[in-house]
């Protein structure tokens, strides 16, 4: 039942409170609305019950193992939340003067410095409000760089087919033509195809490393050489930064620009539709183009905003203020709690957990897409054989996992691998959780062999059964139009 359907005219938060609200008569009549807003009229208790029930129907990282590959659904420590909500910080107005904002600005400055250090980039701007905006910023800076040199004939961005799905969209948004290059059977970029694709028209290449197929790009140094020699720049999609955090750095691999998804790697809340944070880091030559405002420190140790005045070549502002402050603060707390040593452990345990699961699932008879490669923080299982022989496909397995109490891994992505699961356990899960998931997969495999209809018609234990996603896509209807 929608909360709108519970609405009763005139019902308010406290049923027993007097109807006349003092203070309203002070508001000049011309500022009062003539009609009440079209909001549900329910009591506070109804609202609490409604949203509590909804949250109980939900799968979330606070309730279930959530191995959604390419999304890094790790646990968000409560301390990050608590500290970012300190009243002094929460109450700071975004237009407050620098002299009243030194504590807040110190956190942002330190976050910029920590992100620089851990990625090996020369400068960082925290402004982009999400991963997608970070990508847009990155490619917009590549364009600004070429334009500033009068090198405007560069019209193409190269994107390997194992790249993150948003990469081609970003390139097109920034006015580039996308040139796709294939991935070899072993998961690495096809270097011959790359050599053939680069030229005076190449503005840059967008890479995710480790790539979306869950392996580290071994030829990254050679790729950087080929693209740089052609006059192009290298863009690093930070989607999979969790796998290498503190172990190796995109800056050292030769990347010129990177965006980081703080809501993935730096454990800020994720999957609720925002707000996110997608800071960008750059090499020396892209520094002048970073979006403002950024935080700098003067000779006396005081923090101040860098604006268009100090950075005249900036691509400009992306939002009214300096990024999603609450998310940035949570990331700062997270980074400070981990420290340098902790970040290395993030990558080590994320990778260990993924490789443990890959090995155990293989033992259990599941087919890995890249069995000869060591997994990074995620890996791919292909259920092609099950789909062919048992007529039970990846989506059926995914839905049945929900009955076993596990959020399904990413399905049917990357598109390169048929009937695939992209599984990312993250470093925050205990071995028992990983073992539980593996046991569930074994059990579903048995069911697929002995009673396939149970799997095909899953889920059976959730508030809704199998949703008709085809009909939902064909007859999209998201509007509530009253009873």
């Amino acid at each position: 039942m929608l909360i709108h359907e519970q609405s009763r005219s005139g019902r308010r938060a406290f049923a027993q409170a007097p109807k006349d609200r003092p203070g309203l008569e002070d508001i000049p009549a011309e500022f009062l609305r003539e009609r009440p807003p079209a909001l549900p009229e329910v009591s506070e208790m109804q609202a609490v019950r409604h949203y509590t029930r909804l949250s109980q129907k939900n799968f979330s990282i606070d309730t279930q193992f959530y191995p959604l590959g390419s999304c890094t659904m790790k646990y968000n420590p409560r301390a990050c939340n608590t500290l970012a909500m300190l009243p002094g910080i929460l109450g700071r107005h975004p237009l407050a003067p620098e002299s009243h904002s030194q504590g807040f600005m110190a956190c942002l400055f330190e976050l910029q410095e920590m992100l620089k250090e851990v990625t090996g980039m020369h400068d960082v701007s925290l402004v982009p409000a999400a991963g997608a905006q970070g990508e847009f910023t990155g490619v917009a800076m590549i364009r600004a760089y070429h334009d500033s040199r009068g090198d405007s004939e560069r019209t193409e961005i190269i994107v390997p087919d194992a790249a993150h799905g948003t990469n081609p969209a970003t390139a097109v948004m920034c006015g580039y033509k996308v040139r796709e290059i294939p991935t070899l059977g072993n998961g690495d970029v096809d270097l011959d195809a790359l050599r053939e694709a680069v030229g005076p028209q190449t503005a840059g290449i967008m890479l995710t490393n480790p790539s979306t197929v869950g392996v580290f790009e071994r030829n990254i140094a050679e790729i950087a050489r080929i693209v740089h020699e052609a006059g192009g720049l290298l863009y690093y999609d930070g989607a999979n930064l969790n796998a290498i955090l503190g172990k190796c750095r995109p800056g050292d691999m030769g990347f010129d620009v990177i965006h980081m998804n703080l809501h993935k790697t730096f454990s800020t809340p994720h999957g609720g539709g925002g707000p996110g944070a997608g800071p960008v880091g750059v090499s020396e030559r892209l520094k002048p183009f970073l979006p403002v405002p950024m935080v700098a420190q003067d000779g006396y140790g005081d923090y101040y905003w860098l604006t268009e005045k100090e950075r005249p070549q900036t691509i400009g502002k992306l939002m009214a203020f300096a990024g999603n402050a609450g998310v940035l603060l949570r990331a700062w707390v997270y980074a400070r709690m981990l420290g340098r040593e902790g970040m290395i452990r993030v990558a080590e345990y994320a990778t260990l957990n993924a490789n443990y699961m890959a090995a155990r699932l293989r033992e259990a008879g599941f087919q890995l897409a890249y069995p000869e490669r060591r997994a990074t923080h995620e890996f791919i299982v292909t259920l092609r054989r099950q789909a062919k022989e048992l007529k039970v496909n990846a989506m059926d397995f995914a839905k049945r996992l929900l009955d076993y109490g596990y959020h399904a891994p990413t399905t049917y992505f990357p598109l390169l691998v048929p009937e695939c699961f992209l599984i990312e356990p993250t470093e925050t899960e205990a071995k028992e959780a990983l073992d539980g998931f593996i046991e569930a997969m074994r059990a579903i495999q048995k069911e697929a062999e002995s009673e396939p209809d149970t799997v095909r018609s899953a889920p059976h234990t959730l508030p809704v059964r199998r949703l008709d996603d085809v009909r939902a896509a064909r007859e999209l209807d998201l509007k509530w139009s009253g009873a």
């Binding site: 048929p418 996603d469 085809v470 064909r474």
Partner: protein, 131 residues
């Protein structure tokens, strides 16, 4: 194994081509392609009158799993499109080679047809992609 009619020609990117004579061909996506994509929910067709080069993206098919470009198998001018698909994209799932045709081309060079794959070569290509 999916259906690959022997009288048609094919591309490596999973389009089929039927020679209608007089330099006109009909184009669609193969049964194998629709099987990989799953239930289609949206089809974007080229405009009648558009002149398209072989290898260019000229249409889009979208399923619940993925959106995929359709590449023009040969160079020519679009002389007809299958309007039925706009409201009933699932026609391609049920009948990829007949009712599910996508568009007709008036070819620039009829000889180009010979450069396409025949049914055996296409079957072999699908097989090799499986591994």
């Amino acid at each position: 194994m999916s259906d690959i009619p022997s009288e048609l020609k094919y591309t490596k990117t999973h389009e089929w081509v039927r020679d209608e004579g007089d330099g006109v061909v009909t184009v669609g996506i193969t049964d194998h392609a629709q099987e990989l994509l799953g239930d289609l929910v949206f089809v974007e067709l080229p405009e009648v009158g558009a002149e398209i080069n072989a290898g260019d993206e000229c249409a889009v098919v979208e399923s619940v799993k993925a959106a995929s470009d359709v590449y023009c198998p040969l160079s020519g001018e679009v002389v007809a499109v299958n309007e039925v698909l706009t409201d009933a994209p699932e026609t391609i799932n049920s009948d990829a080679y007949e009712a599910g045709w996508m568009f007709r081309l008036k070819l620039v060079d009829e000889g180009e047809i010979d450069s396409l794959l025949d049914a055996d070569a296409y079957a072999e290509h699908c097989e090799s992609e499986e591994h």
